[in-house]
């Protein structure tokens, strides 16, 4: 059964057709990767799904429900979490607080109860903290728990952002270039985590990634895009061998 269905999705910024008629469907419990040269419109597809951009055309369905017109903050509540290509963490907070912010959709107290810090708020905090600790253990972030984001190395921040998305307890996680800027060892860890997310947590993963060895290792299904249009779909090997895909990559390298 497919969890996410995107149909004829398009967004135009003035004359730029950033995404132009893209359709795909992501099966529940699978890892789906989108590849393509720089400026192909991959991040824009993510921004359309998380409702930061309003599509010019097309529809997005999540778990059978049309989310094309939802407000950006309502998408998370349905169980869609994401990371950003250029890390968007809360820089002046600790790792722990960043992860706790990932629990926002699960809050049960209102601001008045928060001001008086009623026993209910404390109970809820315990639950949030327990969930967050699970994420910390999973991603091995123990050593950074109380560190400020602003002073952390790039690789760690990247992992914290994945952790924040996991803390939300999503059904679908969107990872925008999770391995970019990471060392070989760090990318290998990311590959293991993605496999664990699918196998142990039952998550569905939608990923944008340039590192083809990572894509080939974890993906069930690959979609190649260029200049906002779909080039090919299928297995990693099949897509890599596709002549249109090769031409698109060569074209940008020559340019």
């Amino acid at each position: 059964m497919s969890l996410l269905e995107v149909e004829d999705l398009a967004v135009h910024f003035g004359g730029v057709k950033a995404v132009d008629g893209v359709s795909f469907s992501v099966r529940e419990g699978s890892v789906f990767s989108i590849i393509g040269p720089n400026g192909a419109g991959k991040s824009t597809i993510f921004n359309l799904i998380s409702r930061i951009y309003r599509p010019t055309r097309g529809s997005i369905r999540f778990d059978g429900r049309d989310i094309t017109r939802l407000a950006a903050h309502e998408v998370a509540r349905l169980g869609i979490a994401r990371t950003f290509q250029n890390i968007e963490l809360f820089d002046h907070s600790t790792v722990l607080d960043n992860l706790l912010m990932g629990r926002h959709v699960h809050r049960r107290s209102n601001f008045i109860q928060d001001i008086f810090f009623t026993p209910k708020v404390r109970r809820e905090e315990h639950i949030h903290r327990t969930r967050v600790e699970e994420v910390i253990t999973f991603l091995e972030l123990e050593a950074y728990r109380d560190k400020m984001i602003a002073g952390l190395p790039y690789g760690v921040r990247k992992v914290v952002e994945i952790g924040r998305a996991l803390a939300l307890g999503p059904r679908l996680i969107l990872l925008d270039e999770p391995a970019s800027g990471l060392s070989v060892e760090e990318s290998r860890e990311v590959a293991f985590w993605i496999e664990d997310m699918r196998r142990d947590m039952g998550l569905t993963v939608l990923m944008v990634e340039h590192d083809m060895s990572l894509v080939a290792q974890v993906s069930d299904h690959v979609l190649a895009v260029a200049e906002g249009r779909m080039l090919a779909q299928g297995s990693a090997a099949g897509v890599q061998a596709d002549p249109d895909v090769r031409a698109a990559y060569l074209g940008t390298e020559a340019a």
């Binding site: 601001f111 810090f117 400020m148």
Partner: protein, 364 residues
Amino acid sequence: MRVTFKTSYDRDIDLHESWRQRGWIALLLAIMAALPFLVGEYYLAEATNTLIWALAGMGLMVLVGHTGQVSLGHAAFLAIGAYTDAALMNAGVPFLVSFPLAGLAAGLFGALVAIPAVRMSGIYLAIATLALFVIVEELVIILEPVTGGIGGIQAPSIMIFGMEFDRYLALDRFYWLCLAVVALVTWGYANLLRSPTGRSFLAVRDSEISARALGVNVTRTRALAFGLSSGVTGLAGALMGHYIGFFNYELFSIFISINLLLVVTIGGLGFIQGAFFGAILITAVPQIISILRDTGSNWGVDLGTIPGLDTAIFAVILIGFIIYEPAGLYGRWLKIRAWFELFPLARRDMFRRQKTYLKTERMR
């Protein structure tokens, strides 16, 4: 260096890390409570003034320091608090009712104007908040029968359960009243920061786009922050009205708004403690200047003839902080403390990577 071993999640959730810290806070409160027995009328009045400024500073800190929105119009909420409280008391409402109502009125007004205003950001929001002065001035004149119009209004003596809390007749009690209000608000503010609401404020401040992606309704969160901020500022306004006694709307000028911004930026954006440090500075500098003037004239140097000396000194202090210490007085204090705790291991460049600016200051 002290290391706290945490044995349960409560150690992180609790307001204070250790009994030691609780001891310090209790000691500070005890000294503050004993102040009327330790200093004379004059300094007690100054301390009261500082408490009121700290309260207003906390109000603005929620907005500027913790949600990343700038307001140049916060004096308007002081005015709404002061007028509501004084007008209600003149109509016979007891202080224990009129005071919370004054905060509520300012808070509701703040949340109301926030709904269109919060869609703006940075400099646009700052300019929009300037319009608040015009609104308040008009309101005061239209509602002359209750506000006294241009002539002004008298904030009546505070009576609680038959006891007098007048600023002139019973300054020590008025001081304790202010201290109690400040302590309660500080407690509520600290609670807010360790709960989901406070985290959503910080989220909106540091990355609006991820806040949205995590399910935070940014518009509503900003309006809430604006409402809480103006509500607390309204409470400070009510106390300020009683502190001054007789006032009209000219008391709540743009300069008060700017001074409030100085309190939060110099004190340390993003720290509750910053509001206190800033309030101490803003109330102490005029005192220091007048002392300098007196000593200057004793030595035959007439500083009194230099116009705008206060403003110039504030400006220099502000520029100095923005360049050398964006974390404000409180940030500097944290570093000094760390230096002593680590002695002799502290290194000069220990905090170099931490010199970052809050987004508030960047004026998107």
